[in-house]
Amino acid sequence: MVTTLYEESLRKMASRWLPPGHDSTPFRIHRDTTDFFGVEYGDIVDLGGRPYLIRHNAKEGRFGLDDEVKHWVKRAIDLTNGQHKIIKLVFHEKFKAHVGGIEFECFRSPRKEARILDLVAGHKNFMHGFSVQDEKQNLVRVLDFIYGLPLSRYLENLDSDHQSYFFDQFPDILNQFMECIRAIQFIHNHGEKHGDIRRDHILVDRQNGHYRWIDFDFNYRHRENIYGYDLFGLGNVLVFLVGKGDVLLQDLHKRGHPAMSTLREEDRNIVFHHRIVNLKKVYPYIPDSLNQILLHFSKGANRFYGTTGELLEDLEAFPKQ
């Protein structure tokens, strides 16, 4: 009887989001989310007495999902207040990643993401949320939904040539991205890595324009430089922003770009060899001071950035010139 009343109350709360005719279908209520494949559209996940209506698995460029359905990440509605949430169920995954032919060990850690969520609560440059254990002690993360595009898509949608972009829009974009680097510096200072820094792991929040990092559950087994991979990610995003997209060797070649005659091996990305990092050779109006920063991520680099602080120090000097 108690269950029936609870279900009746859930149905009332959920009716707004359920299709007509759902009235007769009994709810499936999950308090143990171990089998995340079994948590489906229209189900209820009850976390600590709070009911969430499951909509569908997250995919398509949100939370870095790139078309692939992630069955452990669900779009949901908090039925107590109608807010849209992302619910990340526990998925322990270990695998070998390959970047530019280099193999390294990666894994997902719900604990890491939960810790970082606590650390960055209220920080404008991160996604927000909290973690809660289900009845089988699975550490589920409940995230506020961010309305906005990934930075990569935001940039692709800008309708201007590179020179106009560089002088009109890029300065503001760089300032926002520097805020993102400071945000990464903040978590590094607390001994945490982001773990998966990519251009589509920054969302441009439509409500306030803030750039916000998402997805902290990814981790890699670091070797000597604990934050080296994060710094590499920041460098890649920076080069992407300066170039208004990837500047690829094969594209320049196809277009018969005049820069082809001056580009050297050392002008390429140190890991992704088909990407050009020495962008001044393609866009000569890029100031030397900024281009020099990009070259730290090139094959010809004499010195690598060891910390976010070093990168920020150089970037902070750039706009003043």
Partner: protein
């Protein structure tokens, strides 16, 4: 010897892991100094505290750590026998494998050196590509850069 000149002790710290490069570093010391006498060698492997995040449970982590310790005990003993076989007195060769929180292996090795007062550190070069060094850093490069008051031999 001139006044004020630093007097180097004959304590050598060989930092190893389970790689061939580390074994080469041990063989180098064995060939160079085996039978010479007067040198004391410690073979060091710092066991990094297992990252909690990597494991789904503390049981899984403990199992991993036990297996790792067992593997490294065998590696250290193997290195010790290389040195003894080359003429080092058994009492002059010790092994050490402390468990430490180790965000940087190089810093942990240097810190061990400071605590134990060795004037020479020996280690094998990992042979990383520039890309790998860029992404993940190099223990030997960092030790060469940051070591103070000691000599570093990096064995190729």
């Amino acid at each position: 010897m001139t006044d004020g000149e630093k007097v180097f002790n004959k304590n050598i710290l060989i930092a190893v892991d389970d790689s061939e490069n580390a074994r080469r570093a041990v063989s180098y010391v064995a060939q160079l100094l085996g039978g010479v006498g007067g040198f004391k060698v410690t073979i060091l492997h710092v066991i990094p505290e297992a990252e909690e995040d990597y494991f789904s449970s503390s049981t899984e982590r403990d199992e991993w750590l036990n297996q790792y310790k067992q593997k490294m005990r065998a590696v250290l003993e193997d290195c010790r026998q290389i040195l003894i076989g080359a003429g080092f007195a058994p009492e002059d060769v010790s092994v050490r494998s402390p468990l430490r929180y180790c965000p940087s292996m190089a810093e942990c090795i240097l810190s061990e050196r400071d605590e134990l007062e060795y004037d020479t550190i020996v280690l094998g070069r990992q042979g990383l590509s520039r890309s790998e060094e860029f992404l993940f850093g190099s223990v030997s490069s960092k030790i060469v850069t940051h070591a103070r008051n000691c000599t570093v031999w990096v064995v190729e």
